[in-house]
């Protein structure tokens, strides 16, 4: 369970996150909102790349913001980026191994756990190929494998389906939906693709201008008139 309390981030005069209070319970939670709503900034706060001016984040009872950024993966934080960040010069196996060995994964079970994560994402056939030679969809899957390896507790997916054709996005969605059961981690999914969010997330929170405007069961939230208005960017008819 992630409890975000009164979180504010300021970049000079810009306030990408404004007094946000949010609870993410378990399973897969969606986080949506128009461009500039503060979704990626929120992920950067959780990763430690952005320091908030005020607020607290308690993750499973621990103060997440007190942990140095590079130690958060060891604590159990995983994330992907809007632009895919699989390391081209390493093989698929080594990409996943990198995360396992730097997050305190047990040496004795390392090989097995890495192979399990690789096979979970369906990449076993290309496990020893260099990532640079793979297509966009497979590179995205490498990131998913890196996210599930070891003992993840909180996984942040930042637009994992960006740039993928529809059928690949559907496959990715099926995979993401299995992650909580497979790993026990809480998954937070940011995406603009509402069909992906509806397919994966039981609950969804909506941000607009750095504020939480709605949260609850996904289907309900997507019908919420405030949410529709925020997305379409219009108020009443003229």
């Amino acid at each position: 369970m992630i409890e975000v309390e009164d979180l504010t981030v300021r970049f000079g005069g810009v306030v990408p996150i404004d007094a946000m209070t949010l609870e993410l319970a378990a399973g897969t939670c969606g986080l949506i909102g128009p461009n500039g709503a503060g979704k990626t900034t929120f992920f950067n706060v959780l990763s430690g790349f952005v320091r908030p001016s005020t607020g607290r984040v308690r993750a499973f009872g621990e103060d997440l913001l007190a942990i140095p950024d590079f130690k958060r993966p060891r604590w159990g934080l995983r994330r992907t980026f809007q632009t895919e960040q699989a390391i081209a010069e390493l093989s698929v196996f080594d990409n996943v191994l990198l995360v396992h060995e730097h997050t305190g994964g047990d040496r004795a079970t390392r090989r097995g756990e890495v192979l399990k994560a690789v096979s979970f994402t369906g990449l076993s056939d290309v496990a020893h190929r260099l990532v640079g030679g793979l297509g966009a969809a497979q590179r995205r899957l490498v990131e998913v494998a890196r996210a599930v390896v070891g003992r993840p507790r909180l996984i942040l997916f930042d637009e994992p389906g960006a740039g993928l054709p529809d059928e690949e996005t559907v496959r990715l969605g099926e995979l993401i939906r299995q992650i909580p059961e497979e790993t026990g981690a809480l998954v937070v999914l940011v995406d603009h693709d509402m069909s992906l969010v509806s397919a994966c997330c039981a609950t969804t929170a909506v941000l607009d201008f750095g504020r939480l405007i709605a949260a609850g069961p996904t289907a309900e939230v997507l019908r919420n008139p405030h949410v529709v208005r925020a997305y379409l960017g219009t108020e009443e008819e003229v």
Partner: protein, 359 residues
């Protein structure tokens, strides 16, 4: 508020890595055979063929391959630039000489000490790399090289005189460290240096294939990727600088006992810039690049000299070579030559098979 995570972009000085298909199973024994053959030739075939001048040249090449190896690791694996590696070799030579006059430690211990002290100094110089990259890091390391050179010029290399710095006017300008008893002759000392170089290449290969290599690959990709994979970027960046400087220091220690000895004037700051050029030309994504770089840096000038061609020409050649690497062959000669040879082989094969078909 925000950390500088997004401003630490990929290194603009470094060309993009070529992405090669993974080596086939058959290529591995072939590669091992080539390496074994080359080592056997260097150890036993080459020394009888050379006179004392060429012995000095190839010993220098063996030693400088270690300096090039360290710089190649920094650029190709971690994405950091250092323009003080040659001057760090001078530090290694200084430390080894100093200890050899002050103590009676055995030769390998002296060389190791030179490596460790140089690694410590190199790590200090690498501290700015935690914040800077590209041009600014290059500049800082170049200034550090200048500063070290000034200090070394002021204190001179010890040459057997009294006192801590041990420099006597009667001792001459250059200093030479006594060689180990099993490598007294020039040929034996060359073999000794080749063996040490092989150990350094093994050390480099071990690093590249294991945990540090993967951490460096993540850092080179981007700081954010590395941190979100749990990599302690501070530790691994400094470790890379320490390793590269260790190699330079060991090389310096060996240089101090090579024929002719060493003098302060032998390590001008601009050599570090030339080293960067030849390392890029040799190729930074393969350890073989360091061998090619050492050839370009030490053997090519001697060859040109032998043929009566001015070595000044090399500055122009290296400039064109670096341009070529940056624009068309990011993997350098170590990557391009085998590819071109394979292409040539296929062409020749095709010509022959066509002839056979015609006959």
């Amino acid at each position: 508020m925000t950390t500088d995570i997004h401003t630490v972009a990929a290194d603009e000085v470094v060309p993009a890595a070529p992405v090669a298909p993974a080596g086939t199973a058959r290529a591995r024994p072939l590669r091992l055979a080539i390496v074994a053959g080359l080592i056997a030739f260097l150890l036993f075939g080459l020394p009888p063929l050379l006179d004392s001048y060429w012995m000095l040249v190839v010993t220098g090449a063996a030693i400088y391959s270690m300096v090039a190896l360290g710089l190649g690791l920094l650029i190709g694996r971690v994405g950091m630039v250092s323009l003080c590696q040659v001057v760090l070799a001078a530090v290694g030579a200084w430390v080894a000489l100093r200890l050899s006059y002050a103590t009676s430690l055995p030769f390998p211990v002296l060389v190791l000490c030179a490596g460790f002290v140089t690694a410590a100094i190199g790590t200090l110089i690498g501290l700015p790399a935690l914040r800077l990259s590209g041009l600014y890091l290059a500049l800082i390391t170049l200034m550090a090289a200048g500063a070290i050179t000034i200090v070394l010029r002021a204190v001179l290399f010890p040459n057997g005189g009294g006192g801590f710095f041990g420099n006597s006017a009667a001792g001459g300008a250059s200093s030479r460290m006594p060689r180990p008893s099993l490598a007294q002759t020039d040929a034996a000392y060359f073999r000794y240096c080749v063996v040490v170089a092989i150990l350094m290449f093994l050390l480099a290969a071990w690093h590249v294939r294991r945990k540090p290599g993967r951490a460096w690959a993540a850092i080179r990709h981007s700081q954010a990727t590395a941190i979100s994979a749990g990599v302690n970027t501070v530790l691994y960046k400094l470790w890379a600088f320490a390793l590269a400087s260790f190699m330079a220091g060991v090389a310096g220690g060996l240089l101090a006992a090579s024929a002719g000895g060493v003098s302060v004037q032998q390590f001008p700051v601009e050599t570090s810039v030339t080293l960067l050029a030849v390392v890029l030309m040799g190729g930074v994504y393969s350890l073989w690049g360091a061998v090619v770089a050492a050839f370009l840096l030490r053997i090519l000038p001697a060859l040109l000299d032998d043929w009566g061609v001015s070595t000044e020409l090399l500055t122009i050649l290296f400039g064109i070579g670096v341009l070529q690497v940056l624009m068309t062959a990011p993997g350098g000669l170590a990557d391009q030559v085998p590819k071109d040879l394979a292409k040539l082989g296929r062409r020749i094969g095709r010509v022959f098979s066509r002839r056979e078909a015609a006959a």
